[in-house]
Amino acid sequence: MRYGRWTLILLALALLPAAQAGSAALPASPKAPAVGAKAPDFTLPDVNATPVTLSKLFAPRGSAKGSWVLLVFYRGYW
């Protein structure tokens, strides 16, 4: 067992990045809308259960200029 401890340490160091990558790795999203593609429309409830429709956000009432949307998906369930 002369090299036992070093072997274990080296093994741990070698596996550490893989373990970290594994825990933070995400699935591929090949069908996620690409740049230039139409973003799929949807209607979902906000925190007050009021339905919000993506396509209705582009033309805010009382505004001549169309609006852009920064759509942010987050993990939740924390």
Binding site: A21, A24, A25, L26, P27, S29, P30, K31, A32, P33, A34, V35, G36, A37, K38, A39, P40, D41, F42, L44, P45, D46, V47, N48, A49, V52, L54, S55, L57, F58, A59, P60, K65, G66, S67, W68, V69, L70, L71, V72, F73, Y74, R75, G76, Y77, W78
Partner: protein
């Protein structure tokens, strides 16, 4: 998301609305918004339908629950994606200043 809240006035000035989506139910999201002071609309996709349609489902990711992988899309007034960020690592988040940079690049 704290970063988007911090830069919300700048984003609004560029004519960009921030909207978020997660699988969390409305009451959980409402609590988060109140705690963090988020003022942008936060939507609930409890069944993951929209998350699935955007191909962003991370199946069984959180205690076996299906959740969204983090992703950001800049969508123009015609509904076209102008920029997107699909992180490969959920510990690395895009920030508001990066989005403002992209808006500069896109002439918005």
């Amino acid at each position: 998301m704290r970063s988007f809240q911090k830069d919300l006035a700048k984003l609004t000035a560029r004519g960009v609305q921030v909207v978020t989506i997660s699988v969390d139910p409305s009451d959980v999201t409402k609590g988060l918004a109140a705690k963090q002071g988020y003022t942008f609309p936060m939507l609930s996709d409890t069944k993951g339908d929209v998350i699935r349609r955007y191909d962003l489902l991370h199946a069984g990711a959180s205690d076996g629950a299906d959740i969204a992988r983090p992703a950001e899309f800049l969508i123009d007034e015609k509904g076209i994606v102008r920029w997107r960020n699909l992180t490969e690592d959920y510990t690395v988040r895009v920030r508001g200043d990066k989005v403002l940079e992209e808006l500069d690049r896109l002439g918005r």
